[in-house]
């Protein structure tokens, strides 16, 4: 926290509860007139101590806990946790379950981005956008529900496989939903490009250059909007991403508009990936045969060792560092979330901007406070 240094300055607190914030965090903004002189971010309002909880739960119980880290990226969180355990224990998932995981995670990316830019519309006073995208997100959530049985927190992945197979009629339903989402994406892009108010608020605002974005460690769509083609799915392929064809969506400008555009492009790319995965889906069992791993894995001991594994979360690079001491519970789990460094980069990014743009810039990062605090 800082103090006022002159009578012409004012300190405004935005949050922790504010309609223009995706989650509880507090921005302490020091103003001179309308421009921001200094900014301080306070987090920790929903600190859950997930890293500590994981140390006292067995590996199987851990899957349910990591779900709660970020409700928009629950499947990516499960992937990074299960991936760590699989690498430590030397389990290789079956080809079919790898493809199903890709489908589930890309669906989760679609719903996250749909909420992300809909919410951003709401932040800058364009509430209709939120109403539009939430309808499409509902359709995508229905697909996820068909597959996993739950809408927000799934507990769907297991070590070496997934809990359930693709249900009857899933492919047809996908075709139907993707048709409407594709149409909607084109519509949103047209809307955003033609709306002068939206353009005023987003073009050339909150500009990040590639050098600055790398220096601050900003991840995901915000980094790719500056033109850096950094995507863990491409740089360090996991699951079957090296067998699938997809583009790493980038833009050059690095402003808010570019971030929104990257998100819309990524929704399209995700649909393309899912269609390929459904076409190529191999037949076979969900769990490796001749091993004890199944839907209900009994208490398992993981060999001593440590691993650092990264996946591409809807918001960027998600990493996990897991240390095992040979017992049935992890010795230490460190979660490296993508929003943590992005939140940290807010003060230098917002300093010097006008107060009206503060929520627009913070909102365009699509931050998930739940994951920053853990």
């Amino acid at each position: 926290m800082f103090d006022k240094t002159s009578p012409s300055e004012m300190i405004v607190h935005i949050g922790p509860q504010h309609p223009m914030q995706p989650g509880p965090y507090r921005l302490n903004v020091k103003l001179h007139g309308e421009s921001v002189v200094d900014l301080d971010v306070e987090v920790g309002y929903i600190h859950k101590g997930i890293e500590k909880i994981l140390e006292s739960k067995t590996y199987l119980q851990g899957i349910t806990i990591v779900d709660r880290m970020c409700y928009l990226a629950a499947l990516s969180n499960e992937e990074v946790f299960c991936g760590c355990v699989e690498r430590l224990a030397g389990i290789e998932p079956t080809p079919r379950s790898k493809y199903i995981r890709v489908i589930a995670e890309e669906l989760s990316r679609m719903q996250s981005h749909l909420l992300g830019f809909g919410e951003f519309g709401h932040f800058i006073g364009y509430s209709s956008m939120f109403m539009f995208t939430i309808k499409d997100r509902e359709d995508v959530l229905t697909l996820i529900e068909m597959l996993t049985g739950a809408r927000i927190t799934h507990s769907y992945l297991r070590f070496g496989g997934v809990r359930g197979d693709i249900p009857e009629g899933f492919e047809e339903k996908c075709d139907e939903v993707f048709k409407s989402v594709r149409k909607a994406c084109d519509e949103y892009e047209g809307l955003l490009k033609s709306d002068t108010v939206f353009k005023e608020r987003s073009v050339g605002v909150g500009v990040l250059t590639p050098e600055i974005a790398k220096e601050y460690g900003v991840a995901g769509p915000a980094l790719r909007a500056t033109g850096v083609p950094f995507d863990i799915r491409r740089n360090e392929p996991y699951l079957v991403y090296d067998e699938l064809d997809f583009n790493v969506c980038t833009q050059k400008e690095g402003d808010i508009f570019a971030r929104i555009k990257v998100r819309i492009d990524e929704i399209r790319e995700s649909m393309y990936i899912i269609e390929q995965a459904l076409d190529q889906l191999p037949k076979g069992p969900l769990f490796p045969e001749g091993t004890p791993y199944s839907k209900r894995t009994p208490v398992m001991r993981v060999p001593q060792g440590e691993v650092f594994f990264r996946v591409e979360d809807p918001r960027g690079e998600m990493g996990m560092y897991m240390v095992s001491d040979g017992s049935d519970k992890p010795h230490r789990v460190k979660v490296r979330g993508p929003v943590f460094p992005t939140m940290q980069a807010l003060p230098p990014l917002i300093r010097g901007e006008s107060i009206a743009d503060v929520t627009a810039i913070a909102g365009s990062m699509d931050g998930c406070t739940s994951e920053v605090d853990r």
Binding site: V43, G44, H47, G49, E51, K52, K214, E215, Y216, G217, V228, F230, N235, E236, F308, R310, E317, G319, Y321, V323, H331, R332, K334, R336, F340, P341, M343, Q344, A345, V372, D373, R374
Partner: protein, 158 residues
Amino acid sequence: MDAKKIIDSISTEFPDSISNTLIDSDIRISAYVSASDVVNVCKYLKDNLQFDHLSCESVVDYIDRDELENVYHIASYIHPVVLTLKAILPRDNPEIESIVEVYWNANWYERENYELFGVKYINHPDLRHLVLPEEMLGEWPLRKDYEGFPQNTAKNLV
């Protein structure tokens, strides 16, 4: 960039402070670094070996050995190799030089490690609490010998 080349490069540049190097796979390598030389090693990695991205900084409590390990995961936007650097610190009064001057985003990671484990970062620009309330400084809740909250909650209730 090749994993072996990176290991050779840092071990020849810092023969005294780099030890126990390990090539885990093509993209995962690790090494122990002496706590006094962390900033120099990081500078060298950033300037000469394209390690321009601090992915993560964390602490692991090894209570049996009476040691803390400060772990840096240093990655790159150009090549997929992730280097795990570990510095061993004593459990009572652990201190290490901050690497914020090299990697800007180490700031919050170090603040978090400070409040959860009590590792003091020397020359850190703003070392204070991050996700926990300020009163909890000194409890170091992620250490293995942390006794939990029951007695604290009861204290608050009375």
